[in-house]
């Protein structure tokens, strides 16, 4: 039962700009297991220009492309797919269509699983208060609403988060510290994949684990993919997890085109 088998993962940046691809690929390259190979992709969707998913409107534009990528990945033999947005867009659908050959993870569910091993209560550092409603929905669905100490906003849109990293780091430290002191959070979650590059500095300052959305999603996916290869613990495909028949998939034409990949960067073996 060899456990240390290599796995092959797909990281989806569910936006149509490629500017995050290189820094995120480098980031992932630093955290992957040595035998893990990763493709980091951003999207090409008609002439759309999607730079973030702050609104449900924008999310709707990437739901189908995420599905198409998940389906494509399962056919290409990827072991796992990471959906790189803390709203976990399309997670259930991607699991349904990729069926028993693959695993799919997303940041919110991943970060909560990590958090549950380390603490009772957590706060989530978000960009803007407008995100709360949808994120509360996810946290509630996952069963962790009783453990939510607070949301704390930075007052930044997603597009602003990497503009002045030192400033963003200061804001995160300020809000994380307040979440611990005032809201009695025991662990901090960074509620956006674009809040990358900050967690270590923040946790040095605030003294409790600060869960990075990219690291959480990626490492849980890698871990789940290894479990899948070693123990055949794959995505379920019965009852509510059942996807359409191959004939239904074929006749729908949903997956007849090329995968909606705009840019691809490979890291690892």
């Amino acid at each position: 039962m060899p456990i240390d088998q290599p796995v092959k993962l797909l990281w989806i940046n569910p936006v149509t700009i490629s500017s995050y691809d290189k820094p995120m690929a480098d980031y992932i390259d630093n955290i992957r297991s040595s035998t893990t190979s990763v493709d980091v992709v951003s999207m090409k969707i008609e002439n759309f220009n999607i730079t973030n998913l702050e609104f449900r409107t924008l999310e709707s534009a990437v739901e189908l492309p995420i599905m198409q990528l998940a389906r494509w990945a399962s056919i290409q033999g990827y072991d796992g797919v990471c959906i790189g947005c803390f709203y976990d867009p399309g997670l259930e659908a991607a699991r349904e269509i990729s069926g028993p050959s693959m695993v799919v993870t997303a940041p919110c569910q991943s970060a909560l699983a990590i958090c549950s091993r380390l603490a009772n209560r957590f706060s989530v550092i978000i960009g803007r208060d407008q995100w709360k409603d949808q994120m509360t929905g996810r946290i509630t669905q996952y069963g962790y609403d009783r453990d939510l100490a607070s949301f704390r906003q930075l007052g930044l849109s997603v597009d602003e988060m990497q503009k002045d990293p030192a400033h963003t780091a200061d804001l995160i430290i300020e809000q994380a510290a307040a979440a611990i002191t005032e809201d009695e959070a025991e662990v901090i979650l960074l509620g956006c994949t674009v809040e990358f590059g900050f967690f270590q500095k923040v946790q040095d300052e605030v003294g409790v684990a600060v869960i990075d959305a990219i690291v959480a999603c990626f490492k849980e996916c890698e871990h789940a993919a290894k479990l899948k290869k070693a123990f055949e613990w794959s995505t379920s495909h019965v009852w509510g997890m059942q996807g359409p028949l191959d004939s239904e998939i074929a006749s729908s034409n949903i997956f007849s085109g090329p995968p909606p990949i705009g840019n691809i960067i490979h890291v690892g073996p």
Copy 2:
């Protein structure tokens, strides 16, 4: 404060086949207020062939087109949009993008509102047990999970429901009667818009209200649209209901094409 103002509604058949359009338009023509004008549309999405939304996979293909129609409808001056599928696909997103000028309804939420005025506990007649998980999610999100007596399946796919209406009616009567007798349901919900044409026969047989998904969604929408015109009770557009800025919408190009309408039938004035 004139209440009986005419309203203009859009009924979306979120599939790419037009075969339901005529019977549903006729159905709606029979239940609309005399001053309500309605456009019943099915979709055109690339070369997709979507005949039902039984799986999350298929739903994902229509999320964006539903959004595009909701946005288009709000610009065209529709007062309300009906999303014609009991999974209520894209409901929150459509409300977000259509903002304060319109109302949006969908069958599951509508049927629950009607039910809550008539009874404590309800059962939902579904096509296949595979639907339960996702539908339970909606019912729980809407706050009615404590009142769910049971799901009862017909053993029919969506595509089979109108093939042999007499047979389908018999199956619904059988399951509705069992839901009342064995599961102690007090009202019956028909959990699919394609279960249309049956409710009156069923309720004559089983003796309690049987809520039709089309009638529920349409009449709640017409009602909400009239309230909107009379009292300016429109969709909220703050906090979790806030949509993207016009500039963000424009730069995204999501709504730059024509609306994804495949077929359109008008009823009413």
Copy 3:
């Protein structure tokens, strides 16, 4: 299937003073469908003097009279009864006794149904903080407790609300604005039927829908009554909705007297 049939409704002011009857009848006259006929009644209960239902004590005095009116209305051929108090007193009992011939609505449940079509989260503007406990019970029972952003009190008793309408309006605007800004409410509910006459001014000021308790209860009742006439969607009468047998009703003598009507005003055809 004619939908625009006229309906006949009973609005119960569950107090023994008649001073609200005329302004409320005028108010309702302005919001009814043109074919809807309405009787607005206040009560005559022994020598009781009930001007409001702020306390459970006072509510208890009107529970039976509400039932007697509901029963009387169902026999007189009313299509619907509105119970005009935001605590929704006697709602379940009135539905039970009026059985399958009528519908019954009340403001809290009605306002929540309207709100659920427009927003995720709401605040309720109440007279005094003492109301919270009982109202929280209703909101929880209806399944909307997760969506309650806050209660905000005016610091007014019911009897004071119409004393100085301009002052009351100012207070409501102040609290509604704070609810939106500080508590992140997306829609405002006016938590008392005596807060009538304010909603339009308030929503002009605060920019989101402000749901008036009278309008909500009346329009949901009118709507439900039309659905009942058109589709036979009546109050359930099985299991937990079952009322006593006619023989039990007769032998109880509960309904043997005249209806406890103190004053009656008719509006409409």
Copy 4:
């Protein structure tokens, strides 16, 4: 701090027939502390004939009389009032009006408190399945819904329960045994005060505690009354527990008549 002070309690049979008064008074006489004095009363309400409260309709007729008795009792110096129906009718209102001078208990809440000291999960033996909805509401409100193993019906109306006690005992034993074996109940609750006289025989047969509704309500009231006298642990009278002002009570005339007592039996010192 003398604990063994005598207390004076009022047991309300919330019906207008006196036939249960003597057997219940005898029953209570056997279970009271030696220093406890008790008045067992049934009601006189106009010309009403209320033999049971199986329906909300019938309950509504006794809500006000229960209040009037609670108010009267608090003025007369009773230490506690027992509301003798497992639906706990008027419990919150009676606490509100009797304020800080008295305690009020009712069977459902009392039985749950006793049960929570003995077991994790319980079943309730009811007369008819129609009772479930309202009783579930109470159990949920009290926070014990997670612990409800099942309801089990006898197929008897309240009026039939004491007609053939041996037959009723057999039915209870049968259903209690099934609740333990099939539903995994650990304790049994008798869900009606008219199921009196059976619990000891039943628990001898089924081997777990069987909580009698009268004994539970009475002994919890006596206990609470002793705590009140010894420690001044009285009903709260602030926030949601606040009642109307004396002036409001006086002007309402609700309590101006004699107490609605039809029959009274005294037991104890």
Copy 5:
């Protein structure tokens, strides 16, 4: 059916110091029924020095000794055991091992039962905010989380609570008053057995019932023990309440030593 039978109770101070034994025994002597005999014990556990249970770490050291005492008490013929810590440590296990011959109570569950008869909402006065997480777990498990208005900390460790009683009393009064005024608590719970001696002074100041942890636990135990003797309402011993077989107990050797009693004080007959 003699109710006033004497009962014999064991109060466990789950610490290894004896300094609280005498004041607590005197305290209990003042609140017991005249026929109740009580043994107040603290523990002897190897060379351990446990002065409080503020941390789960310390609690773990007394779980087994509590069990051994509960088992010993059931064999010695005690009618009830009180576990004297507001975390209710070992409550379920003690009930399991003492089986159908005894009752076991603990302060948190006891105080909530008393509170539920007096009010809707309560606050808990704790020593330090660190206690909240575990206490919230208990309150949630018991079904009362919806009713929790707030925790309010004194800023004192358990060991400091009786150092300067006048100062502690002032702190409790301050926090209790704030809980009522700001958090809308209707009753106050003292969330530690070492907060003894204060409740009467505090409730004189704040005007609502203040539930003392020792009194609550002891009086509920005495009451439950009397119910057990009178009605055979004993701890359940089936399903989740079932303990090991006698043979399993014997072979485990867990109970082969003497009971872990360090000090014992008898009060009463």
Copy 6:
């Protein structure tokens, strides 16, 4: 940021018999990462003979030894501790005492985290129905109670599970298949660490992932330990996660003896 660092784990068999140590060590040796070193220990507790933890009584005997081992492990430099029982005994306390230098996992929480990535609903295969109550408590605490399809019992005590492995396998297959077919489970959890050696055969038969309790607990611990070393994501030590001061630990003498190890087997480097 080297991720593939070696980690050193402690597997606790929380029983006093050593017979499972060798087979479990071999089992773990087959599933560990190549760089992971593991010590598998069973316990020595006075003269106790604890072969399983089926009852809370038996669990109480190992709570303190688990703590002592967790504390010892954190001092010895272990990166993680696995508590090898599906009731997750002592999990929170072990996290508290081992503080920010270590991670601790247990089977139930671990299996649920794995399951949440693969499916919506799960069933748990248990030995005896008596386990349900306590296990339901854990699943509810972890937030997964909505997703529990069913428990299914084998009718075996823990001690019988490895007596006739072929028979046990047959029983598990039978119950797992029934859970999928009748209860609509999408993944199966084996609810006891002594159900080891079966999962692969069972999942081959039933066609969905079958989560082994040992593998789940061990692999989640190894994964969490690697995250800890790479990212400093350690157990929180503030608020509800805070443990006693070193001085309190020292003065308590709880940890002054040798670790309660009865047998130790090392696997890995």
